[in-house]
C-alpha cells in the first residue's frame, strides 16, 4: 500500500453551517451591547496586552461571532482586564464583561467536557 502520509486534505474556510454558537449566545444573553461591535479596532489599538504580544481584542470579538471556540480559549487568557478597551469603544460595548463571559463559558465547557 502506498504511503499517503504526506497528504493532509484540509480547509481553512470558515463554514457558517458548522458554526459553534455556544460562546456567542452566552455572551449575548448577558451582554447585549456586544451585538453593536463594528470591528473598528479601537480596542486593539489601546490594548495593554496587545502592546506586549499579538493579542487582538477586535479578533476576539470576531472569533466569538464566528464560533472559533478553540482559538478563543487559546487567546483569551492573555487579556489583563485593564479596561482600556471598554473606555475607548465608540459603541460603548462593555468589553471587559464580554471577556469575562467568554472566560466563564470556556471554563464551563471545560468542566462539561464540551470542548472540541
Amino acid at each position: 500500500m502506498n504511503d499517503f502520509s504526506y497528504l493532509k486534505p484540509a480547509s481553512r474556510q470558515i463554514d457558517f453551517d458548522k458554526f459553534d454558537d455556544r460562546l456567542l449566545l452566552y455572551v449575548l444573553k448577558y451582554e447585549l451591547s456586544f451585538a453593536t461591535c463594528i470591528s473598528c479596532g479601537g480596542c486593539t489599538a489601546t490594548c495593554s496586552a496587545g502592546n506586549l504580544t499579538n493579542f487582538n481584542v477586535r479578533k476576539i470579538g470576531l472569533w466569538l461571532r464566528r464560533g472559533e471556540t478553540e482559538k478563543l480559549s487559546e487567546e483569551i487568557g492573555k487579556c489583563m482586564f485593564c479596561g482600556k478597551c471598554t473606555l475607548i469603544c465608540p459603541r460603548d460595548i462593555n468589553i471587559r464583561n464580554v471577556i469575562l463571559l467568554i472566560k466563564k463559558r470556556i471554563s464551563m465547557l471545560k468542566t462539561e467536557k464540551e470542548m472540541p
Partner: protein
C-alpha cells in the same frame, strides 16, 4: 403538672437553638486557619477582649452606629435588642430576689408572672414596674418595626430588604412574642394582681372575662411564639443577633479573608442583620440596579444562589462597608466570592518578556488608565524634571498592567502573575521609591506587592513633599476647586488629606457635603464588570450635578479613571492634581532654569 407544660414549646425551641448554635459556632471556629485560631485565642487574653465586649454592648445592644446614622431606626433596633436583653436580665434578678437564691431555673424569669402569683418579696413592686416599663419599651420597638415594614419612608429609608419564608416565620413570631407576653401577663395580673402600671391596666380592662384557662392559653401561646422564634431563628436573618457577637471577637482578633472562602465568610454572612443600610447608600440604586447590593450578596452566599450578574455588578466603592453597623468587610467578601467564581479561568502572560529593568532612584509607574490621560503623564514628567531625581518611567512604552483590575475581576491567580513580573522589574531597578499616579495601581502596590524597602508613594504625597521642600513653587490662583475623593484612594486606602493639602496651595478648596468617607463614586469603577455605559453615565451625572451646585472652577481628582469619567461630562472642567500643579507652577527665573538644567541633564534626555 399541666401548668408546667407551658414551658415545653419554649424549651424545645431553646434546646434546638442551642444545639444549632453549638454546632455552628464550633464548626466556624474550627474552620478558621491555625493562625487565625491562635489570633483569636490571644485576643481573648488581651485588652481586645474588653474592646469586643464593649463593641457588643454598643453595637449589638445599643446599636450605636445605626443610632448615629438614623436615630429613629437606631431607637427601634435598640428598643428591641437592649430592651429584650434588659427584660431577661432584670427578670432574672427579680427571680433571684423572689427565690432568694442566685441559682434559679433559667426559664423562670420568662414565665415568672405565671408561676409567681404573689408579690410578697423584696422590691417586688419596683421589679414589676421595671418589667412593665421594659415591656413597653420593647413593644414600642415592635410597633416601629411593624410600621417600618409597611411604611419605610417614615424611617428615612428609601429601600428595605425583601423577605424570604424563613425570615417571615421568624419575623411574625418575633412580632408576636411581646404582644403575647403583654396579653399573658395582663391575664395573670387580672387573676392574681401581680402586674404593674401596664399589665394591671390591661388586666383591669379584661375585667371578669379572665379565667385560668385563658391565662394558660395565652401563656402557652407566648411560649409557642418563643419556641417558634427559636426554631426559625437559625434559618432566618435573626441568626445575626448571636453570630454578630462571635464576629466581633473574630474581627477584633484581626482576622481577615485571605482570597478564599473559609468559615469567616460564614460568620460574616450570618452576622448580617439585613438592616438594609447598605441599600440606601449604594449609588447603583440611582441607576436602577436594585438586586446586587451587599445585603443581597450576603443573603445569596448563605442561600448558595449567588449569580455572576449580581456578584460582578458592584462598583467596589466601599460605601456599604463604611455604613455597615455590623462592620462586615463587604468588599473583601465580595472579591473573595469573585475569586472563588473565577478559579477555573485560565490566564497566560508568558508574553511578559523580561524588559530589562533600568537602574534608577525613583520608578514611575503610570498604569493603564494614566496612559489614556496623557495630560497626567506630561505633568508628571514636568514634575520629575523639576524634582531633579533619577526617574525610570517603567511603563512608558511596554506597559503591563499593575494587576488590580484583574483582582477586582476576581482573577487573583492571573493578577499574581502580573504582580510577579512587575515585582521582578521593580526590584531590578534598585529604586528606593515607586511613584504612582493612579489609585488603582497604588492600592495593589501597597497591598499585594512585596517590594521590600521600596517606598510606594502616591503622586499627591510626592507632590506635597516637593512643595514642602520648596522644589516646586506654585501660585495660588484662588480658583474654586472641589476635590473628588477616588474610591480606591479614599475609602479603601484612607488617603484624604494629602491631595487636599496640595490643592490648598494652588486654589480655594471648597468643602462639599459628600466627601471623604461619603464621597461619590464617579461611576467609572473598574470594579463593576456588568454595569452598562448608560448606567455609568447616570452615576456620573449624579456626582457632577451635586458638585456643580458649589459652582467650582475646577473639579480636581487624583485618579485618571475618575478624570476620564468626569471628562465626558461637558459642563465641568476636570483636572488631575498633577495637572493643576503644573499649570500653577511659578515660572522659575532664568538663573534657576540653568541651574535646574545642569542638575537634570540625564532626565531631560529621558523625558523631554
Amino acid at each position: 403538672m399541666i401548668e408546667k407544660s407551658i414551658i415545653i414549646p419554649f424549651l424545645i425551641g431553646l434546646i434546638y437553638l442551642s444545639i444549632i448554635f453549638i454546632y455552628r459556632f464550633t464548626k466556624w471556629i474550627r474552620g478558621l486557619s491555625k493562625l487565625d485560631k491562635l489570633r483569636l485565642m490571644q485576643s481573648l487574653k488581651s485588652r481586645r477582649f474588653m474592646l469586643s465586649l464593649k463593641e457588643i454592648f454598643m453595637e449589638g445592644l445599643l446599636h450605636h452606629k445605626i443610632f448615629l446614622k438614623n436615630p429613629i431606626l437606631g431607637y427601634m433596633h435598640m428598643s428591641l435588642a437592649f430592651g429584650w436583653f434588659l427584660l431577661i436580665l432584670i427578670g432574672h434578678i427579680e427571680v433571684m430576689c423572689a427565690k432568694n437564691s442566685i441559682f434559679v431555673p433559667f426559664h423562670l424569669a420568662i414565665f415568672f408572672r405565671y408561676f409567681e402569683t404573689t408579690k410578697n418579696f423584696a422590691f417586688s413592686g419596683v421589679f414589676s414596674f421595671l418589667m412593665d416599663f421594659l415591656l413597653l419599651f420593647v413593644l414600642s420597638g415592635v410597633c416601629m418595626a411593624m410600621l417600618k415594614r409597611f411604611k419605610k419612608q417614615m424611617f428615612g429609608m428609601k429601600r428595605t430588604t425583601r423577605l424570604k419564608t424563613g425570615d417571615r416565620i421568624a419575623l411574625i413570631s418575633l412580632w408576636l412574642i411581646f404582644p403575647l407576653r403583654l396579653a399573658a401577663e395582663s391575664m395573670s395580673a387580672n387573676l392574681h394582681g401581680n402586674g404593674s402600671f401596664l399589665t394591671s391596666t390591661f388586666g383591669n380592662f379584661i375585667g371578669n372575662s379572665g379565667s385560668e384557662t385563658a391565662n394558660f392559653i395565652f401563656w402557652m401561646l407566648y411560649s409557642f411564639s418563643l419556641g417558634f422564634f427559636f426554631i426559625a431563628l437559625p434559618n432566618s436573618r435573626y441568626m445575626h443577633i448571636f453570630t454578630e457577637m462571635l464576629f466581633i471577637f473574630v474581627r477584633n482578633a484581626g482576622i481577615k479573608l485571605k482570597k478564599h472562602n473559609n468559615t469567616f465568610t460564614d460568620i460574616q454572612v450570618y452576622s448580617c442583620s439585613r438592616c438594609g443600610l447598605c441599600l440606601d447608600n449604594c449609588q447603583l440604586a440611582t441607576a436602577g440596579i436594585n438586586n446586587t447590593q451587599s445585603v443581597y450578596i450576603l443573603k445569596n452566599i448563605r442561600n448558595k444562589n449567588l449569580t455572576d450578574e449580581q456578584l460582578f455588578n458592584c462598583l467596589l466603592c466601599g460605601k456599604c462597608e463604611v455604613d455597615c453597623p455590623v462592620g462586615i468587610n463587604t468588599i473583601d467578601l465580595r472579591i473573595t466570592q469573585r475569586i472563588e467564581s473565577t478559579l477555573q479561568y485560565n490566564s497566560s502572560y508568558s508574553y511578559l518578556e523580561d524588559i530589562p529593568a533600568q537602574k534608577a532612584d525613583v520608578v514611575y509607574f503610570a498604569g493603564c488608565m494614566t496612559h489614556l490621560t496623557p495630560g497626567i503623564i506630561s505633568s508628571m514628567k514636568k514634575i520629575f524634571q523639576m524634582s531633579g531625581e533619577n526617574v525610570w518611567f517603567m511603563d512608558e512604552e511596554k506597559a503591563p498592567c499593575c494587576g488590580r483590575p484583574l483582582m477586582q475581576a476576581g482573577q487573583y491567580e492571573a493578577a499574581s502573575k502580573l504582580i510577579f513580573n512587575n515585582t521582578k522589574k521593580l526590584l531590578g531597578s534598585n529604586a528606593k521609591k515607586l511613584i504612582v499616579s493612579c489609585p488603582i495601581c497604588y492600592k495593589v502596590f501597597k497591598e499585594d506587592y512585596e517590594l521590600g524597602k521600596m517606598e510606594i508613594v502616591f503622586h499627591a504625597e510626592y507632590i506635597l513633599q516637593l512643595i514642602k521642600d520648596n522644589v516646586i513653587k506654585v501660585n495660588n490662583s484662588n480658583e474654586r476647586i472641589i476635590y473628588h475623593d477616588p474610591c480606591e484612594l479614599g475609602r479603601t486606602m484612607n488617603m484624604y488629606d494629602e491631595p487636599r493639602s496640595v490643592l490648598q496651595e494652588t486654589g480655594k478648596l471648597i468643602p462639599v457635603k459628600n466627601e471623604k468617607q461619603t464621597a461619590w463614586c464617579c461611576g467609572g469603577s473598574l470594579g463593576n464588570l456588568k454595569i452598562s455605559q448608560e448606567e455609568r453615565t447616570i452615576l456620573r451625572n449624579q456626582a457632577v450635578e451635586d458638585y456643580l451646585q458649589y459652582k467650582p472652577d475646577i473639579l480636581a481628582t487624583a485618579c485618571p479613571m475618575c478624570k476620564k469619567t468626569f471628562a465626558r461630562h461637558r459642563e465641568i472642567k476636570v483636572l488631575d492634581i498633577s495637572e493643576i500643579i503644573t499649570n500653577s507652577i511659578s515660572k522659575p527665573t532664568e538663573e534657576k532654569i540653568t541651574k535646574q538644567k545642569t542638575k537634570n541633564k540625564i532626565h531631560e534626555n529621558e523625558f523631554v
